[in-house]
């Protein structure tokens, strides 16, 4: 597609959508949001880019292909489940690490790691399909 309007708008939207997807991902634990919806937003941003500039241009934006992305995401999710073993708890038990930094609370947890994994898997899966449907 060679619409000038689409291309210009996509350049602007891509960054906003990606930022928004990360916002959704991090917001997810206590409020509506999360890895799945964040991943979908990120994937649709890249799919939009693929529509405007072609899938090879969109693939070039990613440091790795969509399939390794799936792998890394799945590994992160699996790791989040397996970490519970270190604490001697059953598979997938949530572990929390809360730290205060002068008024700001940093909450890290295995559910967050799991969500990041989901985010990457969703981006990987959707892009595999988008690229698969678009090329050749």
């Amino acid at each position: 597609m060679t619409s000038l309007i689409l291309r210009t708008a996509t350049r602007l939207l891509l960054a906003v959508l990606l930022l928004f997807s990360v916002f959704l991902l991090l917001r997810g634990h206590d409020l509506p949001g999360g890895g799945f919806i964040g991943g979908l937003v990120a994937a649709s941003a890249l799919a939009l880019y693929a529509l405007a500039f072609g899938s090879s241009a969109a693939a070039a934006l990613l440091p790795v292909g969509p399939r390794p992305l799936m792998g890394v995401g799945l590994s992160a999710a699996a790791l989040a489940g397996l970490l519970a073993a270190l604490a001697g708890r059953p598979f997938l038990t949530g572990l929390w690490f809360v730290q205060d930094f002068g008024g700001y609370t940093l909450k890290l947890s295995t559910p967050l790691l799991f969500d990041v994994g989901v985010y990457l898997v969703v981006v990987g899966v959707v892009l595999t399909m988008v690229f698969g449907l678009e090329d050749d």
């Binding site: 390794p68 590994s75 073993a85 001697g88 059953p90 598979f91 997938l92």
Partner: protein, 501 residues
């Protein structure tokens, strides 16, 4: 920490699949990961079975959420036996695949997909939750879709479309049935459901039971829902076909046995009567379909259907002996059937074709292959002292015990016809004179031979030293016939306090 034993057969292949996916492009690394994982599953699952034997039904509550609120994994004898079988099959297939799967398919992510498939199968065997069963079914389905069409050959696409279409409809029926069960009882945990369904209106429960019968029946390929199987199973490479032939329909059978022993036992005369008719028709139609085929792997595909009938028959009779027979039959059938596929793959390499008209003379050139075939084929047909003999004897004994002479007669008749198909392959491929012009056969490499020899050996061991295995099957049947053990282990075992259903 003990819950990890129950989760490991699912978590390990899943983690390995993730790792393999992350290593896209490194084919040899992926191959090593897949093979090692499949081999490691064997001791892990045997350890699980031993724990179940010694300590009773094992449960794991994922994320430490107590049943019936969280997702429970449950390993009773039946589940643990199935997990052990899966591990052995996964190891055999992984080794066979070293030589059978071409580099092009490896680049298309054969190895990670296979690991996901194994995780899905194990998940379906171990889960203690109806919706979770649906999820594992989908996990194994999506990876089986991808494996079946890997490479996009024309006949793979054509067969794959049928497989995908029918299985998607079956999944929807399954999901719709889950919705009705949830509306009826407000719970989805197997143990909790079993308790809640006792007070539910019997008519509605029967309707739901029949819905589940259709949904699982499609996956198990029972009559009249099996047409997708012979249309698709012969299209992918043999390593994939063999694992599908051995395991995938058996997941459907497992689900049938699980729900018709644990959940739907309110009106056995009606529900299991339907099962008995379906079992008989499945046996007969499957074996007749096979008689009409002329290619090795297509004959074998129809036989999968026929053999499902025997297992279903054990469930339909619904006595401890019959269920033990069904469990033993499952184990025997998976090994013998998958091995016949492995051997068919070697026959194609040796003779250049699957077509019996074009094969021939393999007895002279490949004596060892003929021996392997004889052991597995006669094992399947039920010759003493091989595993199939005990499996069939138990099924027939159980049906005579229950006064079901017509079912026993059908089983014996179908056994004869099975023998007919096997002698047809023997005659066509091994004894018939070799065709005059034939492409030079490839020699079989060790990764092809070793799994076939091991599985043939298992057929012999299951036959000659059947006693401990039948004891295990009896233990599984005893638990299946007494659902209170399962319910108690899930709802009270790990909790210590009573949970109101």
């Amino acid at each position: 920490m003990s819950s990890w034993w129950t989760v490991a057969p699912v978590a390990l292949p899943l983690a390995a699949a993730a790792l393999a996916f992350a290593l896209v492009g490194q084919r040899s690394a992926q191959r090593v990961i897949a093979t090692l994982t499949a081999l490691a599953l064997v001791p892990l699952s045997v350890a699980l079975l031993m724990r179940v034997s010694q300590l009773g039904i094992q449960t794991a509550q994922l994320g430490d959420w107590p049943a019936p609120f969280g997702i429970a994994f449950v390993a009773d004898h039946f589940s643990a036996i199935m997990v052990v079988i899966t591990a052995i099959m996964a190891a055999a297939t992984a080794i066979y695949a070293l030589s059978d799967i071409d580099p092009a398919r490896e680049s298309l992510q054969y190895h990670p997909l296979f690991l996901v498939l194994v995780a899905g199968v194990n998940g379906a065997f171990l889960t203690g939750d109806l919706f979770n069963l649906y999820v594992w079914f989908e996990v194994l389905l999506i990876s089986s879709f991808a494996l079946l069409t890997l490479g996009n050959l024309r006949n793979q696409l054509e067969g794959g479309l049928k497989y995908v279409a029918v299985n998607l409809v079956s999944s929807l029926l399954f999901l719709a049935s889950i919705g009705i069960v949830y509306g009826l009882t407000g719970t989805l945990n197997f143990a909790d459901l079993a308790v809640a369904l006792r007070d539910a209106p019997a008519g509605l429960v029967t309707v739901v039971a029949m819905l589940f019968l259709v949904a699982f029946g499609i996956k198990a390929a029972i009559f009249p829902l099996f047409f997708w199987l012979p249309a698709s199973y012969h299209t992918p490479p043999i390593a994939i076909s063999a694992f599908f032939a051995g395991m995938l329909t058996k997941v459907g059978v497992y689900a049938l046995i699980r729900v018709f022993t644990l959940l739907f036992t309110h009106d056995v005369a009606w529900t299991h009567g339907v099962l008995a008719w379906l079992a008989a028709l499945t046996m007969v139609i499957g074996v007749l379909g096979a008689a009409a085929q002329n290619e090795v792997h297509k004959i074998l595909s129809f036989h999968i259907v026929s053999q499902i009938g025997y297992i279903l028959m054990g469930l339909a009779i619904f006595t401890p002996l019959a269920l033990a027979a069904a469990v033993f039959y499952l184990a025997h059938n998976i090994f013998a059937k998958a091995n016949l596929f492995f051997i068919a793959g070697m026959m194609r390499r040796a003779g250049g074709s699957f077509d019996l008209g074009r094969l021939g003379g393999l007895y002279k050139t490949h004596l060892w292959l003929a021996l392997l075939f004889i052991v597995s084929a006669f094992g399947l047909a039920g010759f003493p002292p091989l595993s199939g003999f005990w499996a069939k004897a138990l099924v027939v004994l159980a049906s005579l015990d229950a006064g079901n002479a017509w079912l026993a007669a059908t089983a014996l008749g179908v056994g004869l016809l099975t023998l007919y198909s096997m002698t047809k392959i023997w005659q066509g491929a091994f004894w018939a004179p070799a065709p005059t012009e034939r492409a030079a056969g490839e020699s079989a490499s060790w990764p092809l031979v070793v799994p076939a020899v091991v599985l043939a050996g298992l057929t012999v061991v299951l036959g000659l030293a059947s006693e401990p295995f039948i004891a295990l099957a009896n233990a599984a049947a005893a638990e299946l016939m007494n659902p209170d053990l399962y319910i108690d282990a899930v709802l009270n075992g790990s909790l210590g306090t009573e949970v109101a259903p």
